[in-house]
């Protein structure tokens, strides 16, 4: 079946602009995660959605970052007033969630964000 998809694959934006990154999880997966992969910080957790529960936003680095998940499926990560330190690869992953028997997270190919 189809895996996790993300769009765009690459995004170049000017400092100060807002960007939206999209993630389509695997059908039937109730859990969705966003991670950021940067040279200086490695792989960092950003936010976690599980079903209709309130998201775990504990990894968001600042209030310029927000995410939503509509209808329990597609998720959008929004970065407002982008800064150069936001340049990174943003990875999305989905899993069956804690109620399922399998806990593996399946990752998308990521969006490479470059802020100039």
């Amino acid at each position: 079946g189809a895996g996790v998809s993300q769009s765009p694959s690459n995004k170049v934006t000017e400092k100060g602009k807002d960007v939206e990154l999209r993630c389509d999880p695997i059908s039937g997966h109730t859990a969705l995660y966003w991670y950021r992969q940067s040279l200086g910080q490695g792989l960092e957790f950003l936010i976690y959605f599980q079903g209709n529960s309130a998201p775990d936003k504990s990894g968001l680095p600042s209030d310029r970052f927000s995410a939503e998940r509509t209808g329990g499926s597609v998720s959008t990560l929004t970065i407002q007033r982008t800064q150069q330190e936001d340049s990174a690869v943003y990875l999305c992953a989905s899993s069956l969630g804690p109620s399922g028997g399998a806990y593996e997270q399946y990752f998308g190919p990521g969006t490479r964000l470059t802020v100039t």
Partner: protein, 116 residues
């Protein structure tokens, strides 16, 4: 908070030989999962192998096996009969089995080169 340490930024192995990648972690939890993920240049994170902390038997997946030492908090990955396609960045990751935390905590990665 849990931490994951990969002390080998780079490793190389001759094709058909065996290589072991190291990983240590720190946690106060007794129940958790450990994973090895592979990330080729395509950026797609691929699950290689996972280990449940409550299982004493080391996990194996074809040419990949782990040496899980719970008391020592060590989780190394052995790749046997290395192939050119094994060249990638390898990440060790930890996930809690209980509570609300479901995100992965990653190590800094080991870049594996396979020499023909």
């Amino acid at each position: 908070a849990q931490t994951v340490t990969q002390s080998q930024p780079e490793m190389s192995v001759q094709e058909a030989e065996t290589v072991t990648l190291s990983c240590t972690y720190d946690t106060s939890e007794s129940d958790y999962y450990l994973f090895w993920y592979k990330q080729p240049p395509s950026r797609q994170m691929i699950l290689v192998i996972r280990q449940e902390a409550y299982k004493q038997q080391n996990a194996t997946e074809n040419r990949f096996s782990v040496n899980f030492q719970k008391a020592a908090k060590s989780f190394s990955l052995k790749i046997s009969d290395s192939q050119l396609g094994d060249a990638a960045m390898y990440f060790c990751a930890y996930r809690s089995a209980g509570g609300s935390a479901r995100q992965l905590t990653f190590g800094s990665g080991t870049q594996l080169t396979v020499l023909p």
